[in-house]
Amino acid sequence: MKRILPHPLLALVLLIAWLLLVGSISPGAVLLGCLLAIGGALALASLAPPRLRLRRLALLPGLLRDVLVEVVRSNNAVARIILQPAAKTVRHSGFVRIPLDMRAPYGLAALACILTATPGTVWVDYDAADGTMLLHVLDLSDEAEWVRIVKERWERRLMEIFE
């Protein structure tokens, strides 16, 4: 099984992406999609990426919902910051270094996507040697608060899924 289809999850995603692209589920489209999916999985296997381990997928829907809520909330917050008159700004932006316990590469990638998808925070740098991440925050009032938000709201749950 491993030799025929090395990355079943990726192959499935590729097949779904192909079917979405052609917009049909006719036998011809499915057949061509399967061929592409298997080819893609074999191509990825030759790159030898780190293994993806998924635990507790049941947490995923809740996480996605929270990410969507946070995206809407932070879009609103950043839009307000941009539109407020320049004269009465007491806001200041800055960097926060956050120590991470997560080492799973896909978990870190997911955390980077979440933090970037919520405007107002940008993942700047990750130091693999001491496991710290540098985050730039547009409206930084309390550094400890941001460390808490990243660790408790996102990292803890991503670790449960990816580690």
Binding site: A17, L20, L21, G23, V71, V72, N75, V78, A79, I82, L83, A86, S93, F95, R97, A112, C113, L115, T116, A117, T118, P119, G120, T121, V122, W123, V124, D125, D127, A129, D130, T132, L134, H136, L138
Partner: protein
């Protein structure tokens, strides 16, 4: 856009609102590029258009074509997935390049590299 008249009023209204909201957010992001003070602040601005702005426009597109062609048109989901996965790469490259330059120039507004055990 003559097809738009075939849509029911509620759908036309909803789609227009989504389009206005999405393009409005992208516009606010563009204003942010002009108004914010330094590079690290400006990098936040375009993410408005790349997140909720993109989401609103794609939702409008899915609704419009699904109703017009009376079949499910959701290939926009692919755009959303690819944008979400690729924007962090661009933003990280830009901010890390800026950070590297500021550190080389000895600019003390940026944090020093981590003084980890590896150095």
């Amino acid at each position: 856009m003559t097809y738009a008249t075939e849509l029911p009023a509620w759908a036309a209204l909803l789609i227009s609102l989504l389009l206005l909201l999405g393009s409005g957010l992208a516009f606010i992001g563009a204003i942010g590029l002009l108004r914010l003070k330094n590079f690290y602040e400006r990098v936040h601005a375009p993410t408005l258009g790349a997140t909720l702005g993109m989401g609103c426009v794609l939702m409008a597109s899915m609704l419009f074509f699904t109703l017009l062609q009376s079949r499910l048109v959701i290939h926009e989901l692919l755009i959303a997935a690819l944008v979400v996965v690729t924007t962090p790469v661009t933003l990280m490259l830009l901010t890390r390049a800026a950070l590297y330059r500021d550190r080389i120039e000895g600019n003390d507004t940026v944090p020093p590299p981590p003084t980890g055990k590896h150095q």
